[in-house]
């Protein structure tokens, strides 16, 4: 007893825990007592949910290096330190700002239904659902916010001023993401399912987005699109005749590792969004979401592989990797409510659309998106949300539930598109006017690493 107390003299084992020696075999006295009563199953259940949520948050955090590697791998050597830096700072700054302001904006009380109130780091306003710890919910939401912000850097890689990057990535974490997030996960009008609410009146359904195909990924994708348009293509990307030139990524091994890491992190993103594991319903749900997530990723990769093989004569690694991400983005909306077969279909279509979107955006629209962020996050985010309207087993059109839910999904897509592309476009235009968004040609040619950071990623 003495021994044990000494072993952990810090705060770890607080008053509520009365430790007892384990007497060899199976006859164990209760380890836990709370206020003199044995711990309840309910209390353990909430703790299990917390562990599940925190595990999810860890995995979503781990998507950051995934994004960093994909973006670095798919761009050139001379800009590698720059892109790594961007992925580092958007998470660092985003985390701090989301804690100080964003969380309140997203989940705080509001009058007008448009946005919450920033809370300057205090969590008092917040009541966590299901007995979860507030700070646990905060970290979980933080890493989701960071994901939305980080998507943008890929599409604007290799030509954006670092200082301007800092500014716009702050605006995304501070304003754009939390406000539209408020309309949905924050309890706002798009997901308000009370009788007489706007959505219920109009469609009889609320907008559904389980883990963020639209709320996270397409928001990031739309802003990325706005950014890529305002910036213009990299030097040498399009010939005088308008022909698109390939600018291959410098390290597909790192790109592939990044995709696998993202895939791994997505098992926190989607199954983790259940926010609970206790009880049969929840454990069935997380298993189901795990399966749908994985099947969609696999189907997306396979589809992109075959489409690229068919279209270009050879199975392309870079497109298959993007296809996996496409499937993952696509399933993020409906991973909880489509069947396994449905998830395979969503993944498949996402993978197909990805290949065509990449070549359409590049060769037809002449928008230069070095890592394919718009094709993956925007196109497949929208597609996934739409397909959920068809394939949801509890509300979808294909299961005979009428078009109401599909309508709700479409409205959600349009609202998010307008909001995020609109604010994004204005933001970039203003930054560009005020200070210039793009580095001078010489810096772009010689590489951002040396001129913007005075460092090169590779030396001997």
């Amino acid at each position: 007893m003495d021994m044990i107390r000494k072993y952990m003299p810090s705060k770890r084992w607080m008053a509520v825990i009365l430790m007892t020696l384990m007497a060899g075999g199976s006859a164990v006295a209760d380890v836990y007592e709370i206020d003199g009563k044995p711990i309840t199953a309910d209390d353990v259940a909430v703790s299990l949910d917390t562990v599940w949520m925190i595990l999810g948050a860890m995995l979503v955090f781990f998507m950051q290096p995934g994004f960093a590697l994909v973006e670095a791998g798919f761009t050139r050597t001379k800009n590698t330190a720059n892109i790594l830096m961007k992925n580092l700072v958007d998470f660092s700054f985003g985390s701090i700002l989301f804690w100080l302001f964003g969380f309140g904006l997203m989940f705080g009380c509001d009058g007008a239904g448009f946005m919450g109130t920033p809370s300057f780091g205090s969590l008092d306003f917040f009541t966590a659902p299901g007995g979860l710890p507030k700070e646990g919910v905060l970290i979980f939401q933080t890493v989701f916010c960071a994901t939305a912000a980080t998507i943008v850097s890929g599409a604007m890689a290799e030509r954006t001023k670092f200082s301007m990057y800092l500014i716009y990535s702050l605006i995304i974490s501070l304003v754009i993401y939390p406000i539209s997030g408020h309309w949905t996960w924050g309890g706002g009008w798009l997901m308000n399912g009370e009788d007489g609410s706007f959505m219920m009146n109009l469609f009889g359904h609320t907008f559904h987005d389980f883990a963020g195909s639209t709320i996270v990924h397409s928001v990031g994708g739309w802003i990325a699109l706005a950014g890529a348009i305002v910036l213009g293509p990299r030097i040498g990307k399009y010939g005088k005749d308008g022909k698109s030139h390939a600018i291959p990524g410098h390290n597909l091994t790192l790109g592939a590792l990044g995709v696998f890491i993202l895939w791994f992190g997505w098992f926190g993103f989607n199954p983790g969004s259940q926010l609970a594991a206790s009880g049969e319903v929840n454990r069935e749900a997380i298993s189901h979401v795990f399966m749908t997530t994985n099947l969609a990723a696999c189907a997306g990769g396979a589809a992109a592989l075959f489409v690229s093989w068919f279209r270009y004569g050879k199975p392309s690694l870079s497109l298959a990797l993007n296809g996996v991400l496409a499937g993952l983005v696509g399933i993020t909306d409906g991973c909880d409510c489509v069947s396994l077969g449905g998830s395979a279909i969503i993944g498949l279509l996402s993978g197909v659309v990805l290949v065509y979107a990449v070549s359409f955006i590049d060769e037809k629209l002449h928008i230069d998106d070095p890592v394919g962020a718009t094709s993956v996050h925007l196109c497949c985010g929208v597609l996934g949300t739409l397909l959920t309207g068809f394939l949801s087993t509890s509300e979808g059109l294909c299961y005979g539930f009428g078009a109401g839910f599909l309508g709700a999904q479409c409205l959600g897509i349009v609202v998010f598109a307008a909001w995020s592309f609109g604010t994004g476009f204005i933001m970039f235009k203003v930054i560009d006017k005020v200070h210039g968004l793009r580095v001078p040609a010489r810096i772009e040619e010689e590489g951002l690493d040396i001129y913007e950071h005075g460092e090169t990623a590779y030396n001997s």
């Binding site: 001379k78 030097i235 030139h245 040619e445 010689e446 040396i450 001129y451 005075g454 460092e455 090169t456």
Partner: protein
């Protein structure tokens, strides 16, 4: 025969390649070199300043018959010039003989064949 060594900007490589192909030079080698030159740019690694002037360049190496030297030089100069410091140089170096490994051909014919085939 002469060997031309052109040290050019990396970003100009595609243009130079196209210009060479247009000038009927279908065969050349290239590799990356780093240059010390006047286009300075300081780097800092963990607080320590270093390498004030190292720039990555591409060295294009072409062996041509004497009659093609001027044409090739002009093609490169035109395609590689930006007018800013750092455009690079071309050296013309004598070559005494050339051998095509596949056939064993020697001399101008090994180049001629290659260029016109």
């Amino acid at each position: 025969m002469k060997k031309l060594e052109a040290i050019i900007r990396k970003t100009k490589f595609d243009d130079v390649r196209d210009a060479l192909l247009e000038a009927d030079i279908e065969w050349f080698s290239f590799y990356e070199v780093r240059g010390m030159g006047k286009s300075l740019q300081s780097r800092i690694y963990r607080g320590v300043m270093y390498d004030t002037s190292i720039i990555e360049r591409v060295l294009v190496s072409i062996v041509v018959r004497d009659i093609n030297v001027e044409k090739t030089v002009q093609a490169i100069v035109k395609a590689a010039r930006t007018g800013d410091v750092g455009d690079g140089r071309i050296w013309i170096i004598p070559v005494e003989d050339a051998i095509r490994i596949r056939t064993g051909d020697r001399g101008d014919i090994s180049l001629y064949d290659a260029e016109k085939k």
